[in-house]
Structure formats: C-alpha cells, structure tokens
Symmetry: C2
DNA sequence: AAATAATGTGTTTTTGTTACACAATGTAGG
DNA sequence: CCTACATTGTGTAACAAAAACACATTATTT
C-alpha cells in the first residue's frame, strides 16, 4: 500500500508543493494503424476515464509542468507540446466528489478547491510510448479518437477543442515529424492528414503539395513487406521542417 | 485618501476575494486616426506603464473576469474579447518590489506570490471608450502601437504576442465590427487591415475580396467633408458578420 | 477654371487548386 | 509460373483565386 500512501499524501498535502487553483491537462495524440489515438487514464476510485493532467510546482514554468506530466505518462523526452486554451469555468469540476471519502479530506482541502486548467496538446510517436498510470489512476491506455468514452468533468470538451486546434494548425504548420517514425511512406503521411482533418484528399494533389513544401527528403529505399507495389520511403529534413514550424506555411485543403 | 485605503485593502486582503496565483492581462486595441492604439495604465508607485489587468474572483468565470476588467477600464459593454495565451514563467514578475514599502505587506503576502497570467485581447471602438485608471494607477491612456514604452514585467512580450495573434486571426475571421464606427468607408477599413498586418494592400483587390465576403452593406450616403472625391459609406451586416465569425473564413493576403 | 489627390470600376496575367487517366509493380491466388 | 488485383508513380487539363495593372470620375484647393 506504499502507492496508496503516496496518493493520499498527494491529495492532502499537495498545496505544499503545487500552486493552488491551477492545473494542466494534456491531450496526447498518437498515430497507429491508420488511426489517431489519445492517451487516457482511468481513475482509481470511480473508474472513470480522464485526460492525463497534473499541477504546477511552486517555482516551475507552466510549460515545464506540461513537459513533466507528459514525461511521466509516456516515458518520453522531446515531444511536441502546444498550449491551446485555458478552461476557467468555475463549474467545470462541479461533480468533484471522488475524494470526499478520503480520511482527513474536507471541502476546504486544497484538492477540493476550484481549478482553472491550462490545456496542452502533444504529438508523440506511438511506438516509442510506454503508457504509465499516475498515482491516482489504475490504467493508462490509447483510445481511438472516434471511440472516446464519457470523460470526467469537461474533459470531453477539452479533447474536442484540442483536436479542433490541431486541425486548424495544419493550415499553418506541417505535422508528422512528431507523430510518424523517422522513415515513412507518402500514403502514411497522407493518411495522417486525412485522419486529423477527417476528410479524403486526392492522392496526387497531396503529394504535389507536400513535396512543394520542400521539407521532405525521398530516400532510395522503398518500404517492402506490404502487399502491392512498394512505396518510396521519405523522411523530414529536420532543419527545413523546423524552419517551416517557425515561419508558418500557407497550406490548406 | 479614500482611494489609497481602497488600494491598500486590495493589496493586503485581495486573497479574500480573488484566486491566488492567477491574473488576467488584457491588450485593448483601438483604432484612431489611421493608427492602431493600445490602452495602457501608469502605476501609482513606480510610474511605469503596464497592461490593464486584474484577478479572478473566487466563483467567477475566467472570461467574466476579463470582461469585468475591461468594463472597468473602458466603461464599455459588449466588447470583442479573445483569450490568446497563458504566460507561466515563474520569473515573469521577478522585479515585483513596487509594493514592499507598503505597511503590513511581506514577501509572503498574497500579492507578492508568483502569478500565472492569462492574456486576452480586446477590440473596441475608440470613440466610445472613456479610459479610466484603476485603484493602483494614476493614468490610463491610448498609445500608438508603434510607440509603446518599456512596460513592467513581461508586458511588452504579452503585447507583441497579442498583436501577432490578432494578425494571424485575420486570415480566419473578419475584423472591423468592433474597431470601427457603425458607418465607415472602404479606405478606412483597408487602413485598419494594413495597420494590423503592417503591410500595403492593393486598393482594388482589397475591395473585391472584402465585398466577396458578403458581410458588407453599401449605403447610399457618401462621406463628405474630407478633401477629394467623397467615398461611399459601408456598414457590416451584423447577422452575416457573426455567421462569418462562427464559421471562419478563408482570407489571406 | 485647372490642378491635385483621392475614389470607383474592370481587365489581364499569373499562380494555385482541383479533377482526372494511365502506366508500373509487388503480392496473392490459381 | 502466370494472371488478377490492389496500390503506387507520374503528368496534364480545367478551373478558381490572387496579383498586377489603367483609366475615368469627383470633391477640394489654388
């Protein structure tokens, strides 16, 4: 029950370590088997699912909190992270009663206060992630973006906003470097775009536009093993990709 | 000294009313004499300039805090407000010492704690605003966007981010309804766009594109009084404008 | 009354987007 | 082993949008 003591301490004494009233919630996107996935946690008590989240340490940069939380859940470094919105409805956690059966916890306890949460979304390479529950949860796993269950509080709404935000960003910034393995095929990249945009794109026009961005490098290898004609492998030119991320693109389907 | 008591109470006992560690800062844009303006406040103590800001009441929606703060500074209702970014660097207010000479205030006081601030920008009709200082400031006035002084903390950076955010939003949403008087000319609208984008736009192409959006109504009147040929007056079709705000546009120069 | 400076309008050129067709190739099944 | 199939690779024509550009009109100033 070492872990239980840890979570109890956290709930009772969190205000010694963390800022009050402020939390961070992350929508962690991955891409696997031609599907966009999101990493969710299952609560110890109620068994409900939620977004991975956490709190801001007293002297920690807000962005660093998001990075730390992500690292703890995915065991990964260097992930793409973007702050997309703050959720500040005083009623957003109105059914926060899952802790009240805990010894020593009252309505005035730190954790029972109102929290304003800062939403981040992350793009990670699915295969490199080993999902790991936090002290308050029993399970951590990927969910298909089309099959998300009812989540606690306003987390469904946060997730929807994150997806919308990611979608809009596709017109200004390239995507893929953080979601795909180092080497990938054009059809794979296209499926990623189609999945995020939830929209079919013409194969030839997609390739034309993508190559025109000048951030892709075609390798001499082809991807073998699959059925049918072997497609070429590509990889991102990191320098040019990052330049595109800084400057922004004009890119719209 | 009634006002001084008020500000002292605020600094010492703010934590009875407001959430700790969270503030709101607003970049209030106006448009006057073909220039984009920003409303700034001058501090009582140090005489430095800053963005209008405030705190979130314990049971208040974050957005409502921004609305309240704006109303207090501008005496205006129904302004366009947009949350654009959170600033969470623990060092962002590192030189917060303007209060320390206040009787009863210590380093542990509420106001001396670290604050994470949520940035909003507002678009308001210049002529309808009567700038009003808050309890902590002695002056409130418009500044030309190109002549902003050194502001406290990270407020210059917040302002720059707001402008950048507004600039980017021009590609997705129309602007003008909140910044211009009810009736305006095409050259005035164009100057607004040029000022925000800091870029010259072809007069004929601008008009073509604007009219194509279908959110403008040309009046029979012309604007008289100025030198040269009298331009037509236009006004926004409110319903169509709001529809465009909801749906978003494809609009880019 | 003429000069000036700004507005009103339309056409051409260029660029980008969309729609579409056929040849090439690796695997699976007979 | 050969054929059918599904998928990849490539190019072109039609269309739409953006950029470049010119001339007539009009209110004020000189």
């Amino acid at each position: 029950m070492e872990r239980d003591k840890e979570s109890k301490d956290f709930l009772l004494k969190g205000d010694q370590t963390y800022l009050s009233h402020i939390s961070v919630d992350s929508v962690i996107f991955g891409f696997h088997e031609d599907q966009l996935k999101v990493l969710l946690l299952k609560w110890k008590g109620s068994g409900q699912w939620c977004l991975p989240g956490g709190f801001v340490m007293k002297d920690e940069h807000l962005d660093d909190s998001a990075i730390r939380i992500l690292k703890e859940r995915t065991n990964m470094e260097s992930i793409y992270l973007k702050q997309f919105q703050v959720f500040g409805d005083p009623q957003r956690e109105r059914k926060k009663n899952e802790f009240l059966n805990l010894q020593g916890l009252t309505k005035n306890s730190w954790i029972m206060q109102r929290f304003i949460t800062v939403g981040y979304y992350a793009l990670v390479e699915f295969s490199k992630v080993t999902p790991e529950p936090d002290v308050l949860s029993v399970e951590c796993k990927w969910w298909d973006i089309h099959k998300i269950p009812k989540l606690i509080y306003d987390h469904n709404s946060i997730l929807a906003t994150a997806l919308d935000s990611l979608r809009r960003s596709l017109n200004d910034y390239p995507v893929g470097y953080n979601l795909l393995p180092e080497k990938f095929t054009m059809p794979e990249l296209q499926t990623l775009y189609e999945t995020i945009l939830d929209k079919a794109i013409d194969r030839r026009n997609f390739q034309k536009k993508m190559l025109a961005l000048g951030i892709l490098e075609r390798l001499k290898e082809r991807k073998t093993g699959g059925a049918h004609k072997a497609p070429f492998l590509y990889r991102f030119d990191k320098k040019k990709y990052e330049k595109a991320m800084k400057q922004g693109l004009k890119f719209g389907f």
